[in-house]
Amino acid sequence: MLNDFLILMKQELLVTVIIFLLLFKKVSGREWSNVSLMNFVNVLLVINLVSGFFMQQTGTLFGDMFRSSELLSFEKNLLSLGTLIISLQSYNWLKDHKHVAEFYMLLLSTLLGMFFMLSSNNLLMFYLGLELSTIPLAALANFDLDKKKSSEAAFKMIISSAFSSGLLLFGISLLYGTTGTLSFGEIPAHISGTPLQVFSFILLFAGFGFKISAVPFHLWTADVYEGAPVAVTSYLSVISKGAILFVMVSVLYNVFTPLSGTWYNMVFLISLLTIITGNLFALRQENIKRFLAFSSIAQVGFILIGISGQSVDGTASVIYFVLIYIFSNLAAFGVVNLVSALTGKENIDDYRAFYKTNPLLSWVLAIALFSLAGVPPTAGFFGKFFLFLAGAAKGNYLFIAIAALNMIISFYYYLRIIKAMFMDANDRPIPKLETSFSPKASLFICVAGIVVTGLASGGYAYIHSLLK
């Protein structure tokens, strides 16, 4: 029993241990310099990531409330990797910050929440994991303590996430009322498709929609992304979104199987709306963080295409795309983070002639944007290709065609930044940036990830093999 507990929950336990280490360190009162504290946490995060690859087992704990499997361990490893990359990237921002230990405690609490949410086999655990992964994030959005915009972002985030949690809870209680159980394993047998159950599903789906910022529920996204510190923005747009997408796939596929006809139509409509709105708004953004916010909304629309596939390919393509999305989006955010932390510039116009002064960084940003757009040799192309393939298996070709057309529109706005960097003239370009080791290492991991997953096909096959 104890062995099972230690092995199945090892990732959660490790993250908890790190949180408490930081807490005791903070309470003990001995001051470390920010740099040594950050190095300490980064080493711990590397240990956390590496240990995730060993001793993966399938099983359940706590009377079926918690489950673990190789697939879940893999998903958790992806999130750990993303957290490590973000931690490396925030070096310049955190170097002079007063609350580094608290930043990591809150960041790791949200990671812990995501782990519990992924492993949940019960609506209650799912809800608690979701709350644990969003409430500390709202506090993190406020971590630029002297900026008003940052407080505004935190406030908007806590209000909108409270509202969406309200919808989600209402849906969960109606579902509990009609099925009489909270366990994911028992719910499908009790779902018969009565109107009340469909209504509860719609509420649950709206809750999910808020968290992944799919279109009718996306209004908080741009403001929060713009106001929050870049490290938190990238965490919000990649890690927390990725975790919720993983859970969403598993809940839609395994729990709401009896309602698959209903949810296909919903996913289909919301996907189209999300792609089109995300694209149209991304076209006219001037602030690069707002731009990346709307681009990430459009990307969620593409991910929903994969979810609508309702097959093993659907799950595999979503996980694969999130893997690629972690690398590409974090590479883009990494460069934006550096520029923002060192010069304070966040407009697309500021990036004109960026290539003249920082050739290496502009190549990193260019490769990231190519990958986000889906230009062939980069990984992003294959990610979107598999999503479309999974979606097309349902035979709704008009839907796929409209989505593919939107992909072409997205080329315009991604390439607009590349044009600004490489071709436009600028009297006062961003000066040459002195980068330290950690951000460099994180950008290297991201670019290597984009190139390797683009050229080697092993990743998709591996994810597919985990799903068997």
């Binding site: 608690l128 009340l196 209504f199």
Partner: protein
């Protein structure tokens, strides 16, 4: 109509009436007090269902904790005594329509749904709740209990960081 039903309708009318007053009153302090009455009504509903423990929790947590917190934070703002502006007519009509449609939808959904009885005996006692709160086997909720404690820890850390920001200069 039995006495039990009559009590139920009186309680419901009390809850809904005070809830409506809490939304429509134009002094924000009064609206907090009406909310207090509405929450007490909900506790009464739990007593009516003979789940005294949940009723007690409702009173301790909501009436004793949350409403007091709301009133405290209202006192800390400057405009707690002032009369709020009247809502425009368009908004009133929209709100009324939303309420009517929301009620119609919920009523229709609940009416059409045949709730099946699980057949399990409804048995609660504080001892049983305590055991399952800290149990690890089936129907044991020790894991959610621990996760909630992590959530509280994170919330406290977040609050401290945000609230501390007012006086970083003084400390130096």
């Amino acid at each position: 109509m039995t006495a039990s039903q009559i009590i139920f309708y009186i309680l419901s009318a009390f809850i809904l009436g005070t809830a409506v007053l809490s939304v429509t009153t134009r002094k924000i302090f009064r609206s907090a007090i009406w909310l207090l009455f509405s929450l007490i009504g909900v506790a009464g509903l739990y007593f009516w269902m003979e789940v005294e423990f949940i009723a007690a929790v409702q009173i301790v947590v909501y009436v004793g904790g949350i409403v007091v917190l709301i009133i405290f934070s209202l006192f800390l703002t400057q405009q707690s005594g002032e009369v709020m502006a009247k809502a425009p007519v368009v908004r009133k009509i929209a709100a009324a329509l939303a309420v009517i449609f929301g009620f119609a939808l919920t009523y229709m959904l609940v009416q059409q749904n045949g709730f099946e009885a699980t057949g399990k005996p409804f048995d609660w006692s504080v001892e049983k709740i305590g055991n399952s709160m800290l149990g690890t086997a089936d129907n044991g909720y020790s894991l959610p209990f621990e996760v909630v404690s992590m959530l509280l820890l994170a919330a406290m850390i977040g609050c401290i960081v945000i609230a501390m920001k007012a006086k970083p200069e003084e400390q130096q």
